[in-house]
Amino acid sequence: MNSADVVVQNLSRKFGETQALSDVSLEVQHGELFGLVGPDGAGKSTLFRILTTLIVPDAGSATVLGLDVVRDLWKIRSIIGYMPGRFSLYGDLTVRENLSFFASVFGTTIEKGYDLIAPIYKQIEEFSERRAQDLSGGMKQKLALSCALVHRPQILFLDEPTTGVDAVSRREFWDQLGKLKASGLTILVSTPYMDEAMRCDRVALMQNGQILHIDRPGDVGRHYPLPLARVIGAKRYQMLLALRDAPHAHSVYPFGAELHFTDDRAGYAPDKVSAELREFLLGHGFDDATVEPIQAGIEDNFMELMATQARAS
């Protein structure tokens, strides 16, 4: 018997001709903050909807807290909290009415769950008589999280809770998740923002219905298969185009103010790669360019895995 809070084995699901999930397997341990990271269409929401018993898989199996997602759906529904990707509250009910409704559906009251939701709910409590549709994006998100928590679930599923929310509110939201995790709650959360992956214990990188890789976020970059260098210089766009024609260029991507250059020679000394690039850029008139070897980050790795997947299909 597997003791993990979530066990997913070879799950597949099609919608018409679209293979939304393809042979996905993962485990989430008790108390873990586990992230599903990937763009729209990666399969994150389909996986959530199967785990929350809203749809059934075509193949494979999954358990949540030891219960089967197809057979034991009613038992699962009463002990999980779920925040869907789309705004799921009643716009014409007030903040308090929404919360009270979700509590009553689960046979409880706001008061009984208050200590758990308080750190989040207190931030919107002064608007408790306002209709949910009149809240700002950040406040809607806080109300939705409160509604998903009010019945004291044993595990929380959050589907893209921070999409379309500004960088500051995103940060605050993740601070709250960190506190919930510290209280022992198991949390599955999906996001299209690579930087948020760093706040998770482990992440699954997803694309086109498949899991590309599962790892601790800090370790994802260690598996990068090729030497990587960072290039900084004033004429960024011209340099980007020039570097694509450099000998041994595997990929060149803009990264904020920098460019990341991947060399196609596995195992070649990173210092030598940088020295050769410096030479190359000097020869092309980019005399202010600085080049240095770096360790790959999660986004470097995601893009390399995506490209590998694309070549394989």
Binding site: P39, S136, T163, V165, D166, A167, V168, Y237, G256
Partner: protein
């Protein structure tokens, strides 16, 4: 001396007692990539709506492509491109049909439309299929290209890369760079703070005002921060 591509002086918009945009002033030069940042509710969308002629200012003035946004609204609309965060093409029309529709709206001749749609589909590597069947990233790249179809002086992009994978996001920015290199001015909003660093200059709006403005490099030095994300958090939530 050429006029700036976008010019705003004391641009202001009130809704009842609430001042959504509060006397903002800035200039964007021709061919510049200008990042317009701010928290949700800071006034970005209201400011952008005024610049593209969808909302009248309460006070102040603004010129886009050297045209007054109040007295020359129609001309402004002809000289700008706009891509909203909600996907703006028709899903049940094909790629070519969408291009023809927008080309027609902007009054391009049939031969111009035919030529530009051929070039566009070739450079994007698109076949003439239903737009609804394209992956999100392709839709966004197509929407951007369609916004440039009538060769506008300024293109306004409202969160163009939301939900898009990291490779496509970068390809999108390369399309932006290429447009800017051809002299198109790009005015863009985003929630991805790393993307702010792709811009020539950025402004950060807080509570209706522009809190700071400059090149990402200069701003990082001025505020002594290592990333724009750090600066954004400091300005948007002063402690």
């Amino acid at each position: 001396m050429t006029a700036p591509a976008v010019f705003a002086r004391d641009l202001t918009r009130r809704f009842g007692d609430f001042t959504a945009v509060d006397h903002i002033s800035f200039e964007v030069a021709t061919g510049e990539v200008f990042g317009f940042l701010g928290a949700n509710g800071a006034g970005k969308t209201t400011a952008m709506k005024m610049l593209i002629g969808l909302l009248a200012p309460t006070e102040g003035e603004a010129r886009v492509a050297d045209l007054d946004i109040v007295t020359q609204t129609e001309q402004v609309r002809c000289r700008i491109g706009y891509m909203s965060q909600r996907f703006s093409l028709y899903e049940d029309l094909t790629v070519k049909e969408n291009i023809s529709l927008y080309g027609g709206i902007y009054g391009l001749s049939d031969s111009t439309i035919a030529e530009r749609s051929r070039n566009m589909m070739e450079s994007l590597g698109l076949k003439d299929e239903l737009v609804g069947k394209l992956p999100l990233g392709w839709k966004q790249k197509l929407a951007f290209s369609v916004a440039l179809l009538h060769e506008p002086a300024v293109v306004f992009l409202d969160e163009p890369t939301g939900g898009v994978d990291p490779i496509t996001r970068r390809q999108f920015w390369e399309l932006i760079y290429a447009a800017a290199a051809r002299g198109t001015t790009v005015f863009v909003t985003t929630h991805y703070m790393d993307e702010a660093e792709y811009c020539d200059r950025i402004s950060i709006m807080v509570a209706g005002k522009i809190a700071t403005m400059g090149s990402p490099g200069d701003l990082k030095k001025k505020w002594n921060v290592s990333t724009i994300d750090e600066l954004f958090v400091r300005l948007a939530r002063p402690t």
